[in-house]
Symmetry: C2
Subunit: 163 residues, 2 copies
């Protein structure tokens, strides 16, 4: 059945809904044990400190998917870009264009804000998503790998500063 | 010769120095043709819009390296992280610990700000950098690839929003 998909920005009162979608996405990625986010931390870091923004896809008045994003920065372009950290649509609402509507809304925001790029990461085994992204005109950055320091190792590295 | 390496944050008047380092790094990565950043765009996006921050490594009163970074966001941790976009030290000042001093300063900033992670990307052929990063306690995220939409494709995707 053809449904109308709306997009709306999330507000502070939506922290619980955002956490719900984060947990759903983590379960899909088989990483649900890694979610330590709480409603409180999301309220603080997204809405009080302004470190990310969220759009919801809405069908029949219900939030059925979300996109969480922030501004990254390209030194080559000398300006910010938009980085899509999480995109998720509830399984029973897939195939209705919710994901595409969320991504195109971000592309429009990027152009409107004068940003040079829209970027995101995808797990290499997630073939359905990769095909979808390629169909949107995205190119994979094959030659790059992300490195991460976290937890005790981050503390240890911080402790060595100024030594 | 043992030199003392200092760290200082860049200010708006440093846009020219930042651009110089960006161009040096691009040349090292064999991508100098891709740099379209200008002093003006760096002043606007880094210092007026606040979309990135820069630290300089200083030896004998001279800026000899830089780290450009911004806040990213981990939905699993429910808080921001620090993402190091560019790190560069002038060839004649390598081996003095400038790179390590810049990275540990970022690790300290991450801990001080309550961030959960410090991350960056590295070209897969850059073995000296990879070995250095592993020595700092960083782990590669092997299963992920970044996808990018830019230029005319970004405009086209934006134009399809709301359709």
């Amino acid at each position: 059945m053809k449904k109308n998909v709306g997009i709306r920005p999330a507000a502070k009162a939506d922290a619980g809904k955002i956490l719900y979608f984060i947990r759903q996405l983590a379960a899909y990625e088989k990483m649900q044990d890694e979610v330590v986010a709480t409603e409180e931390s999301l309220r603080e870091w997204i809405f009080e400190k302004g470190k990310a923004e969220v759009l919801f896809a809405v069908v029949d008045g219900k939030e059925v998917g979300f996109a969480l994003f922030f501004h990254n920065f390209s030194t080559f372009l000398g300006r910010a870009g938009i980085y899509l950290e999480d995109l998720f649509v509830l399984p029973e609402y897939r195939g209705m264009g919710c994901g595409k509507k969320l991504i195109t809304a971000l592309a429009a925001a990027a152009v409107e804000r004068g940003c040079g790029r829209l970027e995101w990461s995808c797990l290499d085994w997630n073939r359905p998503s990769i095909d979808f992204y390629l169909s949107l005109g995205a190119s994979p950055l094959e030659d790059w790998t992300v490195y991460r320091v976290t937890g005790e190792r981050l503390q240890k590295l911080a402790d060595s500063a100024g030594v």
